[in-house]
């Protein structure tokens, strides 16, 4: 019975794989009784019809998810009937970890392999051919790509430079015994975290709009300056994106630091008081060094968020195109070629892979420099 379950599962997976990337198209064609087989066996000649096996395979391919699920269910039923398996300590950990393994294989490893293959291909809607390294050559000679990389790196550096020292300072100032209102300030600063990128984006887009009456232009007016078109300048557009990010994340990072500060024992401050240290000295000699783990954590997620930034720019500019690509990020570049342009899937795959490697290198470098990786090995 276990074997039967396994076979059903494998047939389902085989049906899935035989469709390549054309699942939804195939389903639509099948349900409309259109040219379904073209996706699996190539177009039929005039007067020809599918063989018995071909018809069966078409049916299986249509209901591939049912087959895969059915296979898993049969295996599960076998385990329930054969109760000794439920007590086995050698099988159990694998059953527990199974959801992760499946997710990892289906949504990480397999897609990664297929993108790697696609990145060496030129893919049209009905055909694909190997073109070697051409996609990569095109990518590295593309000026827009470097614009996107520059924007993303610039954004990451600026947000890290703002979102680490200031929240740290604010948290340190709020974390005093004498600050009775700290709870209220903490709550107020946290409210923007609740807003989604979409809502925040809508607000900021209208605040930074080119109309004379928009908030940011009114602010300029208060200083006697002419209204400007914020989103059409290289640095003013960057300013809008960074401000949006800071508005949403300052409160969050303050909370991270306050959680870190809570774990510092009060005796250290008492000792410092006895030695006559002032607030600044206490910060440099007690707060800063003991908060290093929190800083590393915040830095890691800031770099991660900076490199992955896309929706902020997408919302501020209303879509993925911005004047002179001032708001284009690496993910936006990927999105443009993967989802907006037609027949560029191979090229987009190459973009994705290059970004993947880049992100991993930056992550590893950062963890290496801050000492996280080295420490783990020593322990």
């Amino acid at each position: 019975m276990f074997i039967i379950g396994l076979v059903v599962l494998v047939i389902g997976i085989a049906a899935l794989l035989s469709l390549g990337g054309k699942g939804t198209k195939f389903d639509t064609a099948y349900d409309a009784n259109g040219d379904t087989g073209a996706y699996l066996f190539g177009s039929l000649a005039e007067g020809q019809s599918y063989g018995v096996f071909q018809s069966i395979w078409l049916l299986i391919a249509r209901y591939r998810n049912v087959w895969m699920l059915g296979g898993l269910l049969i295996i599960a039923a076998y385990v329930l009937i054969n109760k000794t398996l439920l007590y086995s300590k050698t099988v159990a950990p694998y059953v527990f970890v199974l959801p992760f393994i499946l997710t990892f294989l289906i949504f990480f490893v397999y897609p990664l392999i297929s993108t790697t293959i696609m990145s060496f291909q030129s893919i049209k809607s009905d055909s694909s051919e190997f073109i070697g390294l051409t996609n990569y050559q095109n990518l590295f000679s593309n000026k827009t790509f470097y614009t996107a990389v520059t924007n993303s790196l610039r954004y990451t550096v600026i947000t890290c430079a703002l979102l680490i020292p200031f929240p740290l300072l604010f948290a340190y100032m709020l974390d005093a015994k004498s600050m009775k209102l700290a709870g209220m300030y903490k709550a107020i600063l946290f409210v923007p975290v609740l807003s989604s990128v979409v809502v925040a984006g809508i607000i900021f887009r209208m605040m930074f709009s080119e109309l004379d009456g928009a908030l940011m232009n009114q602010v300029r007016g208060m200083f006697g300056l002419e209204p400007i078109i914020w989103l059409k300048g290289e640095w003013t557009a960057m300013f809008a994106m960074v401000l949006l990010c800071c508005w949403r994340w300052t409160g969050m990072n303050i909370l991270y630091y306050m959680a870190g500060l809570k774990s510092i024992p009060g005796e250290l401050y008492e000792a410092a008081d006895i030695d006559g240290a002032n607030a600044v000295q206490k910060f440099w000699n007690i707060g800063w060094p003991l908060l290093k783990p929190t800083t590393i954590y915040v830095l890691t997620i800031s770099i991660y968020a900076g490199l992955a930034m896309f929706t902020e720019s997408y919302m501020i500019f209303g879509n993925n195109s911005s004047p002179k690509n001032y708001g284009l990020t690496i993910v936006g570049y990927l999105y443009r070629y993967g989802f907006e342009k037609v027949d560029k899937f191979g090229f987009a795959s190459a973009v994705g892979l290059v970004l993947l490697v880049g992100a991993m290198v930056i992550n590893l470098l950062q963890l290496r420099i801050t000492g996280v990786i080295g420490k783990r090995k020593g322990e």
Partner: protein, 298 residues
């Protein structure tokens, strides 16, 4: 563990002299005002109406005679400011979002804790390699993998279904990591006691471990639920049917250069923050604990 860290009582911390204290209060008051300005402008905007926003943009100028509730009327009744009845899909999106938050939230918690139990309580071949894979996936932003993942969803024929939104993230790496961290503080004797009493390996998880995990579930529920409520990019890629949109995708489509949907866009934005805001006011400490759960290493 998280809760123990939180509970450490402090004897004496920093002390400021009165002058510094006043300065700090002034400073944080100003900062708070700046932080609240965008939200205040949003709420004010809902009472000015879309046509006014289209002409002058979002600002703080307040003219009581021009305020009206027509935009809100449109949101709730579908009657536009010029009296024409034109129904919109906002509450369908709202219902979809709620559905996804509930299903995705509960399933993610269940599956992720299930996996983390395997990592935390057993020794097995390949464990270190597999856990390295967890960290690997955690380190790579999803945005960079969206293209191959999209092809995969397409191949499975799941495009335009909620499974496409939920399934890839059921085994949520940061949740797994968090639960594992939590479970390392749980004594193995408890598990062995369950075995002696004749529990199956899975019965131990269901009857002994899940009740212990309650506080961890609560923290993660906040994180996962908020992320699901606010998620834009992935749902936008896999859902193309208007009736299946979630609130963020729907709001996003309302933007147009002609400003004809501003009424709905601005009130809808306001109404989308509302549940989170109410939740936050009701259970502030709890939410803050949940959001910072990942940063405190036990």
């Amino acid at each position: 563990m998280v809760n123990q860290n939180m509970a450490i009582t402090r004897k004496s911390k920093l002390n400021y002299n009165p002058l510094a204290r006043v300065l700090l209060i002034v400073f944080f008051s100003i900062l708070s005002v700046f932080v609240l300005i965008p939200l205040y402008a949003l709420v004010l905007g809902t009472f000015k109406g879309g046509s006014e926003l289209f002409i002058s943009g979002l600002n703080l100028s307040l003219d009581p005679s021009k305020l009206h509730t027509l935009a809100w009327r449109y949101l709730f009744t579908g009657v536009m400011s010029d009296g024409v009845y034109e129904p919109h899909d906002y509450f369908i999106w709202y219902r979809n979002s709620l559905f996804i938050v509930l299903v995705q939230g509960s399933l993610t918690l269940l599956v992720s804790s299930w996996v983390s139990y395997g990592f935390a309580m057993y020794k097995f071949k390949g464990k270190n390699l597999l856990f390295f894979c967890v960290l690997l996936v955690m380190m790579i932003p999803f945005e960079i993998l969206m293209l191959p993942m999209y092809t995969q969803i397409n191949a499975m024929g799941m495009r335009n279904s909620y499974w496409a939104i939920i399934l890839p993230f059921l085994a949520n790496m940061s949740a797994i990591f968090f639960f594992r961290q939590f479970l390392t503080g749980v004594p193995h004797d408890l598990v062995d006691a369950g075995r002696v009493d004749g529990c199956t390996e899975y019965g131990i998880f269901l009857r002994i471990i899940m009740p212990i995990l309650k506080p961890a579930y609560a923290s993660m529920a906040v994180l996962v639920g908020m992320a699901a409520w606010n998620n834009l990019l992935w749902p936008m890629l896999v859902i193309s049917d208007m009736k299946k949109y979630t609130v963020p995708i729907g709001l996003n489509t309302l933007w147009s250069p002609y400003g004809n949907n501003y009424d709905l866009m601005i009130t809808g934005s306001c109404f989308a923050i509302l549940p989170l805001l109410i939740l936050f006011l009701a259970a502030q400490k709890f939410i803050i604990e949940g959001m910072t759960a990942g940063s405190v290493k036990g």
